[in-house]
């Protein structure tokens, strides 16, 4: 692997880590609301959140480009404010990846919070735990498997994405060229491909091992 490949790998990692962190912050309240809320809008939101699962990545990238490009509605506003339009930049990549990996974070979190159930939280309330305290000392530990799954799936899924990144990032080496895209115009793609496969496999292995361990200690699924 040449240095360009290493740079591409590094960009992939940075992108995956940033996306995962932001998704966790954004999706936790969203998943909580989907799991615990009583609103009749939940079905609709559930469906919208799952859209990236079924849309072709190029469709997603196309709309993002329209939205975030210098001539796009959001990109234009940002540019008038003196800020760079996110398209063809790292921040554009992050936005695109977050959208693309959204269901991979929301769905495990939502299922995990659902399995925590109202009863454990009510019991904690009668044991003097405030709402935030209940979240961190009861909901998070009980949902830990789901949280781990959400983190690893978001990370691995972002690492492997292609279509959205190509359209919104534009394949600029050293800035927006991730490993999965560097592969594309590589003549010697074997090594980089093998590296990506190995990384994703290792990540999934970690999740499944950890899940098995957690189950052995008696936590609910």
């Amino acid at each position: 692997m040449g240095s360009a490949d290493l740079i591409a790998l590094w960009i992939s990692f940075r992108l995956a880590a940033t996306t995962t962190l932001l998704l966790l912050l954004l999706c936790t309240p969203l998943a909580w609301w989907l799991a615990m809320g009583a609103s009749r809008w939940r079905v609709l939101v559930d469906a919208v959140v799952s859209l990236p699962l079924v849309l072709p990545p190029t469709v997603l990238g196309f709309y993002l480009l329209i939205l975030l490009g210098p001539a796009g509605s959001l990109g234009g506003v940002l540019q008038r404010l003196g800020l760079p339009a996110p398209a063809f930049s790292f921040s554009g990549l992050v936005i695109g990846s977050m959208l693309y990996s959204l269901p991979f974070a929301v769905q495990p979190l939502r299922d995990a919070f659902q399995s925590v159930g109202a009863r454990a939280l009510e019991a904690a309330a009668t044991l003097r735990a405030s709402p935030w305290n209940r979240f961190f000392t009861v909901a998070v530990p009980l949902a830990s498997r789901g949280i781990l799954t959400a983190v690893v799936l978001s990370f691995a899924h972002t690492l492997g994405e292609f279509g959205v990144v190509l359209m919104i990032g534009g394949n600029i080496p050293g800035r927006t060229q991730t490993a999965s895209i560097a592969l594309f115009d590589h003549t010697e793609a074997y090594r980089l491909s093998a590296t990506l496969v190995a990384i994703c496999f290792a990540l999934l292995l970690i999740v499944y091992t950890a899940n098995r361990r957690l189950r052995a200690t008696g936590l609910p699924a």
Binding site: T126, L127, R128, A129
Partner: protein, 364 residues
């Protein structure tokens, strides 16, 4: 000192509409069929039902009214749920400490070791909650609730999911809790046996409304309530152990109306126990019988007569001084003896049960 309740909450199956005062001492049994609102009322008291329109005042402190809602974690209640509510990610010690740690040291009324001893948990402390038996879980849940030093303990059918042996394992702990008089308890059950064994007061709910409320002894014999019509209906008395007679294997206990002989019980003289006399075990005689095998004979006055479920029988309510006693006799006997309100007679009590053996539970 009371818990003053005015609660309204609509549910699919019933509309809860309760206004009552519950004494904040002893055990108040909350009794009724399923879907009569028992659990919902308990949840309202605990602050787990935000949608309830309620005014809840506990010993002068307002927990809820039109303007205020003190959330569950700020109400001084302990809550024991019907099914296990222990945290599966913690061991027994962690579960017990969960509430304890959240109570400022100065406000703690029960220490960790005390709760562990009271519910006999020392052997379980390292176990994880999912590995415990049903009875063990409920014991941990009771200790967990007590360790938050509540001023009121709410128990929602804590025994209903347990088998007979687990029930028998927990009931003595509950009696000890009651007799230590440390904390008022509201105890939800649809098992009359449990209520008769534990409760001092009774709140009878029917379709979301209060059907009757008052001292257990009085309510058990009210003819307008369904309680007297159970096959095993009867009365309970709080008695004091007076003497033991090992040669005849008898223990003498004193109730207000006189002395009763029961089978020898290993209870220290001077201790209070609760005994139960079933209506079908009471016969009546106009004169004190001279030659009889029945040991317990008490003078009584007839208060009322009413129809029994069985048309051949009649339920006679007697006054033993201030305490009521139920007798179930045939209508023919009642007519032949000329029994009517005011008749002075003698109640012949064939058997007196100490309320500790796991008496068959009477459920609706």
């Amino acid at each position: 000192m009371t818990l003053a309740l005015r609660v309204a909450l609509a549910r699919a199956e019933f509309a809860l509409e309760v206004t009552c005062d519950i004494p904040t001492r002893g055990i108040t049994g909350l009794f009724g069929r399923s879907a009569s609102g028992k659990t919902t009322l308990l949840r309202c008291i605990a602050g787990l039902e935000r949608k309830a329109r309620a005014r809840i005042e506990f010993n002068g402190e307002i927990w809820q009214d039109q303007h205020r809602f003190v959330p569950a974690h700020r109400r001084a209640v302990g809550y024991v749920f019907q099914e296990s509510s222990l945290f599966p990610h913690l061991d027994v010690r962690g579960n017990l400490e969960f509430g304890l740690r959240r109570v400022p040291a100065g406000q703690r009324r029960m220490g960790f070791d005390e709760a562990v001893a009271l519910l006999d948990l020392s052997a379980l402390l390292r176990q994880r909650a999912p590995r415990l038996s049903g009875g063990e879980r409920q014991r941990v849940a009771i200790a967990q609730a007590l360790l938050t030093s509540p001023q009121l303990l709410l128990m929602d059918e804590p025994l209903s999911n347990l088998d007979q042996s687990s029930k028998a394992e927990i009931l003595p702990h509950l009696e000890r809790l009651r007799d230590s008089a440390a904390i008022p308890i509201i105890y939800v059950s649809h098992a009359l046996g449990e209520i008769m064994r534990l409760a001092d007061h009774l709140l009878l709910l029917e379709a979301g409304r209060v059907r009757a409320a008052g001292p257990l002894q009085q309510l058990l014999v009210r003819e307008d309530l369904p309680l007297g019509h159970f096959e095993d209906s009867g009365c309970v008395f709080d008695a004091t152990v007076e003497a033991h007679d090992p040669s005849y294997q008898l223990t003498y206990v004193r109730i207000a109306a006189g002395r009763l002989a029961i089978s020898l019980k290993p209870v220290a003289v001077g201790h209070r126990i609760r005994v139960r006399i079933n209506a079908r075990d009471v016969s009546l005689a106009l004169k004190p019988p001279e030659l009889t095998s029945i040991a317990n004979i008490l003078p009584a006055t007839v208060a009322t007569l009413s129809d029994d479920r069985d048309p051949a029988q009649t339920l006679v309510r007697l006054a033993l001084g201030a305490e009521p006693l139920l007798a179930r006799i045939t209508r023919r006997s009642a007519a032949q003896l000329g029994i009517a309100p005011g008749t002075q007679l003698y109640a012949l009590v064939k058997s007196v049960a100490l309320m500790e053996s796991s008496a068959r539970d009477l459920t609706w």
